[in-house]
């Protein structure tokens, strides 16, 4: 009886949630079906969600790419860049975080305070000046302006997150290792790294996501179509000169989201926890 009444009380909540969920995922479903729509289908009554016939050719058309560059090339470019950036970010952030969390040195507090300030400094504000520096280094049209900063722990968020995590590892473990004759680098590799694994996984996931989705940096530094990442290539479909092939665009947009979805399904727990506890923006 009581359970029944609770269930009744929940009906309005359920209705609100279902409606909201439908509104929320409608654009994604529209996109999914859109990738199977022919041009004719798009331009007459796009209110129909389901295409009149499933037009698989969109995927072939999209995969053919632009100007003789197949879409696979863009995916390869994105993959190389994201993997390098992710490795660089995670390794350098862990290395730096270990310094802040575990070693007493002169100026530690001041540098950490500066790191906290840069946490709030949006990258967009310095894009023009960074471009000027890389321009004079003759790094434009190479991946260096994107990869080198990654190896210099330029996203303070990851350093901050790892510092917080390393601080929870008991110091007694370090001291035992020191007594066994371990060096500071040895302790970092043998004790700190293995014990911060969950945080490292969270960092890896988000470093990968942000670099896979990154638009500004490739836009600034990669100006040759052969070097384009997926983000830049998708924009080409939007170009009216390219005939605005929506179906192909949607098809490739979905393909570009696949790695994001796969990583999400594999590491859902880390993602939700990462955001909830560390306030990572998704």
């Amino acid at each position: 009886m009581k359970a029944n009444r609770k269930w009744l009380k929940n009906i309005p909540v359920q209705i609100v949630l279902i409606l909201l969920a439908l509104i929320m995922i409608y654009p994604l479903i529209w996109m999914l079906f859109g990738s199977f729509k022919s041009k004719a289908d798009f331009f007459q009554g796009s209110f129909n969600l389901i295409p009149s016939t499933f037009y698989w050719k969109n995927y072939a058309d999209g995969w053919a790419g632009f100007g003789g560059i197949p879409f696979g090339q863009f995916i390869k470019n994105s993959a190389v860049l994201s993997i390098l950036v992710t490795i660089g970010t995670v390794l350098s952030s862990a290395w730096v975080a270990n310094g802040f969390a575990r070693i007493e040195f002169k100026g530690r507090k001041i540098w950490f305070a500066i790191l906290m300030v840069t946490l709030m400094l949006p990258v967009q504000l310095l894009m023009v000046q960074r471009y000027i520096i890389f321009f004079h280094l003759k790094w434009i049209n190479t991946i260096l302006p994107i990869v080198v900063p990654a190896f210099l722990a330029y996203q303070p968020f990851f350093v901050f997150l790892l510092v917080q995590f390393i601080k929870t590892v008991p110091r007694e473990l370090d001291e035992a290792a020191y007594i066994d004759g371990c060096s500071k680098i040895g302790v970092f590799i043998k004790i700190i790294l293995p014990l911060t694994r969950p945080a490292l996984i969270t960092c890896t996931i988000f470093a990968f996501y942000w670099s896979w989705d990154d638009f500004i940096n490739p836009l600034l530094y990669l100006n040759k179509p052969l070097n384009y990442t997926v983000s830049l290539a998708l924009r080409l479909f939007n170009d009216p000169a390219a005939g605005s092939n929506w179906g192909a665009m949607f098809a490739m947009a979905l393909v570009s989201l696949l790695p994001v979805i796969i990583v999400f399904l594999m590491f859902q727990k880390y993602i939700v926890e990462g955001i909830s506890t560390q306030g990572l923006k998704g």
């Binding site: 929320m24 995922i25 350098s92 290395w95 023009v128 960074r130 350093v159 998704g282």
Partner: protein, 297 residues
Amino acid sequence: MRKVAISGTDNRMGYLFIAPWLIGFFFITLVPMILSFYFSFTQYDLLSSPVFVGFENYKNLIINDERFHTSLWVTFIFVIVVVPLRLAVSLGIALLLFRDPKGHSLYKTLFYLPSLFGGSVAIAVMWRQLFSSYGPIASFIRLFNPGFEKSIVGSPNTASLTIIILLAWQFGSTMLIFLAGLKNIPKVYYEVSKIDGAGPVTTFFKITFPQLSSVFFFNLILTIINSFMIFSQAYIITEGGPVDKTLYLVLYAFKRGFEYFQMGSSSAITWILLLILSAVIGFFFANSKRWVYYESK
């Protein structure tokens, strides 16, 4: 004795560990910042050397440049609408999910999906078509107003709205942070308020909100920064148009820099933006003491 050796200061190792960040900080944050400050007082087209012009760039922007005025205005409106909208939606839904309705983890995932794909170009190019004159939203409006032929992204009055909706749609991570905050409120408080006969509204304002205020503050600051920094979506969906109605400040700084090669003017816009952002955030930090409660330990 050994303990001193272990945990005593070790400058050499300390700096060895933070070296990558330190180098990065100098060359990709500090130097660009100093350059930016200097360039904002010069005329500089990237190819010839900068020419010092004093406050000319700032004066031109503030007094003469109507595009800059438009840019300021649309950015303000954007921030003023997006921030409360996104916070209200995410808090509202977090409160619903906190009641632990059936299927709550499925809902959580569904609501988070749009944030997961977040700022990706895939979503941005789709959004543009979603609100075009052939898109489903226009078709939906036609059900009530058959004469509606306009493109929603293409009309000056509604272009910014499409980007506002896009940012509000991506409330997932803000919601997850609220949910985590709600879970941290000790259950005892709710039991006591129930015994005292407090209604749901009183409970919200006397218990939930004060207990959640530090999380709320965190989300507020994060959302303010993110909305001021809107760039990629506007660049892809509306390209700043129509008639500059979505020419947000970062986009305008970008255009000044990379389309007109006026690095000086672009840097000046950046500094004005940083000033405004600091003022807004400073304002909230200053009055946060009155409504943000941190657990005192």
